[in-house]
């Protein structure tokens, strides 16, 4: 059993090493992103972002189709690939919640790159991590 596990481990590692990857193209933020904003008791742990770039501004929506939070302020600083996103939402009582997300693009070169950082609002704060689909 240990032999089999060893061989499988070796094989899996080598296949992973030799596996092809999809490259990054276009603006690094453009695309659909899925992940989590941990500890978000208002809108749940899972989060979906759709972002685009028109040549001047980054726009998009958080949780399109359900919460439909329009991103009102977004920036990407190529020096360190720092991402800043802001969006307003309503809670069940109708009160406005402003989300502020700060993170950093990791694995820039890959199609399935990630943004890792934090989210915060009037109702809490936590870890934020999304991956490009």
């Amino acid at each position: 059993m240990q032999r089999r596990a060893f061989i499988i481990t070796v094989l899996a590692g080598m296949l992973a090493t030799g596996a092809g990857v999809l490259a990054q193209e276009g603006h690094p933020l453009k695309g659909s992103w899925i992940g989590t904003w941990t500890g978000n008791t208002v809108h749940g742990n899972d989060v979906l972002l759709v972002l685009t770039w028109d040549g001047k501004a980054i726009t998009g929506t958080i949780n399109p189709g359900t919460d439909n939070m329009a991103i009102k302020n977004a920036s990407l600083n190529p020096d360190g690939w720092a991402v800043h996103l802001e969006a307003d939402a309503k809670d069940k009582s109708g009160a406005t919640i402003t989300y502020v997300i700060d993170g950093k693009i990791e694995n820039l070169a890959f199609h399935n790159r990630t943004i890792t950082g934090t989210w915060k609002s009037q109702r809490g704060t936590g870890a934020f991590k999304i991956g490009r689909q």
Binding site: L22, A23, E25, G26, K30
Partner: protein, 374 residues
């Protein structure tokens, strides 16, 4: 570990070496090999893998501990080697060879062979010999159709030919001095901002691609089409097929995944012209062409973002708009000029250009980047 397990692990390792050696498409040499780390190996050939995108010769070499280890020697494509007079039988299993080259960046036993010498004869083999073209004393006139327009493709009488050997294989704005190799790898990444007027994010991304030695190029990684500009800088040329009856020009790609691009000459618009693809951005965009005093002017929009449109990895977005001008200045020369406009990635339109040479009497090389991939 028992002998049985060692055997299995050994076989797995050998298979992995073979896969990783041959599984990547034709690529920038620097993406895989480190030209600052030269090596020389002496050994006996165990296998000649005569396939595209790269020929490999596997060599058993005695290492420092006296153990025999197998190295993969990567060479150019079968097309390049055959053009240079070599065949799959030039080197055979059992031949002793000395290989000089540069080693793989990932530390595996792979070397890009700059020189392979057969020990029994001392002859250098499997090297690429650049073609020699005979330039006529007087430029031959541009061949023309009966209506006076230049012929870009096949000549009267069905004599074949294609355009190849571009005078430049890299894209940079006209007048820029930013030295780079044939794959678009800058000699000095600090020159990146000179190459084209990029927006800050595009410049940073271009620098990132350069610092990674272009290893993320989707044309090489995933066999993606090269797009409008880059197709005229690929290794195996392009061929125009002028379908005058249907008012379109096909641009056939000799290398890459051997695909084609259509230039519509019937005055249609660029949107909604292809049934089913009305809103689907394309690798070659939607190209419409017209003749302007003997120059074919092609206007293209509607590109997707799934490819690099230049060797070297200049970024683009789906706002990319190309205006290309093709002028057959004489029988043997095609002048290519392009204006790049992309408000998503660049701060202003910019232009570049080069020439291609007519390769008469030949059809496009048979080369598919999909060859020998898992």
């Amino acid at each position: 570990m028992t002998a049985g397990v060692r055997t299995i692990v050994g076989l797995v390792c050998a298979a992995w070496l073979l896969l990783s050696a041959s599984g990547s498409a034709h690529h920038a040499i620097g993406a895989k090999f480190d030209d600052t780390k030269a090596t020389t190996i002496n050994g006996v050939v165990t296998l000649v893998d005569w396939t595209n995108p790269h020929v490999h010769v596997f060599v058993n070499v005695k290492d420092a501990k006296g153990q025999i280890v197998n190295w993969a020697v990567e060479l150019e494509s079968t097309v390049d080697l055959q053009r240079s007079g070599w065949s799959k039988d030039t080197v055979q299993t059992g031949d002793a060879v000395t290989v000089q080259g540069i080693v793989a960046r990932n530390g595996t036993r792979q070397v890009y062979g700059r020189s392979v010498v057969l020990s029994k004869t001392g002859r250098q083999v499997l090297n690429v010999v650049p073609p020699v073209f005979k330039t006529p004393l007087q430029p031959r006139p541009t061949p023309k159709w009966p209506d006076g327009l230049p012929r870009l493709g096949q000549l009267p009488g069905g004599v074949g030919g294609y355009w190849g050997y571009p005078s430049s294989t890299v894209l940079a704005e006209n007048g820029v001095n930013a030295p780079m190799d044939e794959y678009g790898q800058l000699k000095n990444v600090a020159d990146a901002s000179k190459v084209a007027p990029m927006q800050p994010w595009a410049l940073a991304l271009y620098e990132n691609r350069q610092r990674r030695f272009l290893q993320d190029d989707p044309t090489y990684l995933n066999c993606k089409p090269p797009g409008g500009v880059r197709q005229f800088q690929q290794p195996y040329g392009i061929q125009f097929v002028e379908d005058r009856e249907r008012q379109r020009i096909f641009v056939l790609l000799g290398g890459g995944n051997h695909n084609y691009r259509i230039v519509y000459m019937d005055g249609r618009s660029q949107t909604g012209q292809v049934g089913g693809d009305d809103d689907n951005p394309l690798y070659y965009g939607r190209s419409v062409g017209r003749w302007d005093n003997g120059t074919l002017v092609v206007d293209t929009r509607g590109f997707n973002e799934d490819f690099w449109f230049t060797n070297g990895g200049l970024p683009h977005t789906d706002q990319l708009h190309l205006v290309e001008r093709f002028t057959r200045t004489d029988f043997d020369t095609l002048k290519y000029e392009v204006t790049v406009e992309d408000r998503g990635a660049y701060t202003r339109p910019w232009s570049s250009g080069w020439t291609l040479r007519w390769v008469g009497g030949e059809e496009l090389p048979t080369y598919f980047c999909q060859d020998n991939r898992p």
